[in-house]
């Protein structure tokens, strides 16, 4: 079952004073997140990631389109019992203690009092704030606030959790702690929708990712598929160095060790290369698609496109 289906959700803001024109912040977006999946929603700053989350959370209203969360219309307030949300760089009521804050949010999510009493200390312990429950949030560091943020997002044991840039502004240790918390939720089988522009985090946590840029979806898929697309090259190893002069215009890199040649060829030219190797009576030992990085793919889908357009 799909945990989240975004069905052409779009948002435009009117700009200008006299002649109002619509400035699209999000072009019609189609996206499906499967149950139990950790989904990365990637894009540079201002790409439309937070706009998408605000639409899904009912903070802003779409210009067009719809969405289904856990099989129900996204505007149905009751569906929000099953979802958790951590906004980007969250601020919480700093006059409250961590325990009071979690109690407040749990009440709003309909968690019964006896359940709250059990759940809050356990959750504070889980996010590493077991000793800080009575401390006012104004005395918390940024990393501690982020952990409280994660705690409030899961206090009601939701099925689907949205994290908006959860590692943003954290030091390396804080980032690792948050990453481990998200990994723990993933291991529990929660569906996670994560927006980030820190690609290494997405690569290590996400099953699938989508790239959004300037409000448009630029790519979506399993991380390994996208990274292999990013490289779009194959390494061919063959025996028969004599064949090299005939292949010079096909291969981009070559390494010769005795009679063994390791060459890199673009995926488009792989058939031509194999044909020529056959003609030259060379013996093909292996074919290995080269793995790119998510960053390669990301750059190709964002900055790369702009260069093409320019």
């Amino acid at each position: 079952m799909a945990a989240l289906e975004i069905l052409g959700l779009a948002k435009s803001y009117p700009t200008g004073f006299w002649r109002k024109t619509l400035n699209p912040a999000l072009s019609p977006l189609e996206l499906t997140v499967n149950d139990g999946e950790t989904f990365g929603f990637l894009g540079p700053n201002g790409a439309g990631k937070t706009t998408t989350l605000k639409l899904l959370m009912g903070i802003i209203f779409p210009t067009s389109g719809s969405a289904r969360i856990l099989g129900r219309d996204f505007r149905d307030p009751e569906v929000r019992r099953e979802i958790g949300f951590l906004p980007e760089q969250p601020y919480f009521y700093d006059y409250l203690s961590a325990t009071e804050l979690l109690d407040y949010y749990a009440q709003l999510s309909g968690v019964p009092e006896d359940e709250r009493r059990k759940r809050i200390p356990a959750l504070l312990e889980r996010v590493g704030l077991g000793d800080a429950g009575r401390k006012q949030l104004r005395k918390f560091s940024k990393g501690m606030l982020q952990r409280v943020g994660i705690a409030q997002a899961i206090i009601h044991d939701p099925k689907l959790i949205f994290f908006d840039e959860p590692m943003s502004g954290l030091d390396p240790i804080g980032r690792r702690e948050v990453r481990e918390l998200i990994q723990g939720l993933k291991d529990e089988g929660k569906t996670i929708f994560l927006t980030t522009h820190i690609l290494s985090d997405a690569e290590s946590l996400c099953d699938r990712v989508a790239i959004i840029h300037k409000g448009e979806l630029r790519g979506i898929g399993v991380v390994e598929d996208l990274t292999s697309k990013a490289a779009d090259k194959t390494e061919v190893v063959w025996r028969g160095a004599h064949a090299l002069p005939a292949l010079a215009n096909l291969i981009s890199e070559e390494h010769v060790t005795g009679d063994i040649v390791r060459g890199v060829v673009s995926s488009e030219q792989i058939d031509s290369l194999l044909e020529k190797l056959h003609q030259q009576r060379a013996h093909v030992i292996s074919l290995t698609p080269l793995q790119g990085t998510l960053e390669d793919y990301f750059v190709a889908q964002t900055a790369g496109r702009e260069e093409v357009k320019a």
Binding site: R80, P90, Y95, Y105, F162
Partner: protein, 258 residues
């Protein structure tokens, strides 16, 4: 629904109670009440009159200031600091949020008024060396002051649902001042002619009639307040507040909270 409403109400009250600025206002108001007997010494024999006037006016004015000062930030602060995002991502309806906020501030004002009234009665006890039958009637003036708070809070909430905090404060305070002279405006409308009459009548009935809710001078002179006025003022204040709060909800329901 009740659980969510009461959670928001209580949290709003808790925020106001823990706000240091609020304490400054209360201390200042209590000081004013406490020093009121000194005013009486200027004119011997009218201590009670001056104390009642100064004390009840202080409860009213400081309550209004607190209502406007906190009311303008009730919604805007939650949007600006994005705390609203974590509220609306839960099964909380927008109307529940606005209503909870409203009730939380009203609760704060009622509790403040109760404390200040206790202080005021203490000062009265010191000045008059005992409490008389007429002093019980002063509570009607306090009740009307609380009705004023209902209206001012709802109006402030309405303005803050579509404009900036500073503008909301200006609008709400201006409306409070105009409303204080609502009776004069109605008298003026009765005397005027033509377009001015229509305009003045419209404005006079549109602005909240705070002059009808002000019986401080009356109770200071130990004059009774009719049960009919108590009933009408109650109905009027509740209807006016409800209308303003519903308008605030309707605006807020359609608003993109950027």
């Amino acid at each position: 629904m009740i659980a969510r409403l009461s959670a928001i109400t209580f949290n709003t009250f808790r925020e106001a109670v823990r706000d240091r600025v609020l304490y400054n206002l209360i201390v200042f108001a209590l000081l004013l009440v406490a020093t009121a007997p000194l005013f009486g010494e200027i004119s011997i024999g009218v201590e009670r009159l001056i104390l009642v006037n100064v004390g009840l006016s202080a409860i009213s004015i400081f309550g209004i200031i607190i209502a406007i000062f906190i009311g303008i930030g009730l919604v805007s602060k939650e949007i600006e600091k994005k705390t609203l995002y974590t509220i609306l991502s839960r099964p909380v309806r927008r109307w529940e949020f606005i209503t909870g906020k409203y009730l939380g501030l009203v609760m704060t004002l009622v509790v403040n008024a109760a404390f200040m009234t206790a202080g005021f009665y203490l000062a009265l006890l010191l000045v008059s060396h005992g409490l008389g039958k007429d002093d019980g009637g002063l509570l009607i003036a306090v009740y009307f002051i609380i009705l004023e708070f209902f209206i001012v809070t709802a109006i402030t909430l309405l303005f803050s649902s579509f404009s900036s905090p500073i503008l909301s404060a200006v609008f709400a305070f201006a409306l409070f001042v105009i409303g204080t002279f609502a009776e004069d405006l109605r008298n003026f409308a009765a005397l005027a002619t033509g377009v001015t009459k229509w305009l003045a009548t419209g404005v006079a009935y549109l602005v909240p009639n705070f002059s009808a809710l002000n019986v401080i001078s009356q109770v200071a002179h130990s004059q009774g307040v009719s049960g009919r006025l108590v009933l009408w003022n109650t109905v009027y204040a509740l209807l006016y507040s409800l209308t303003a709060a519903v308008a605030a909800v309707l605006i807020f329901e359609r608003r993109n909270l950027k």
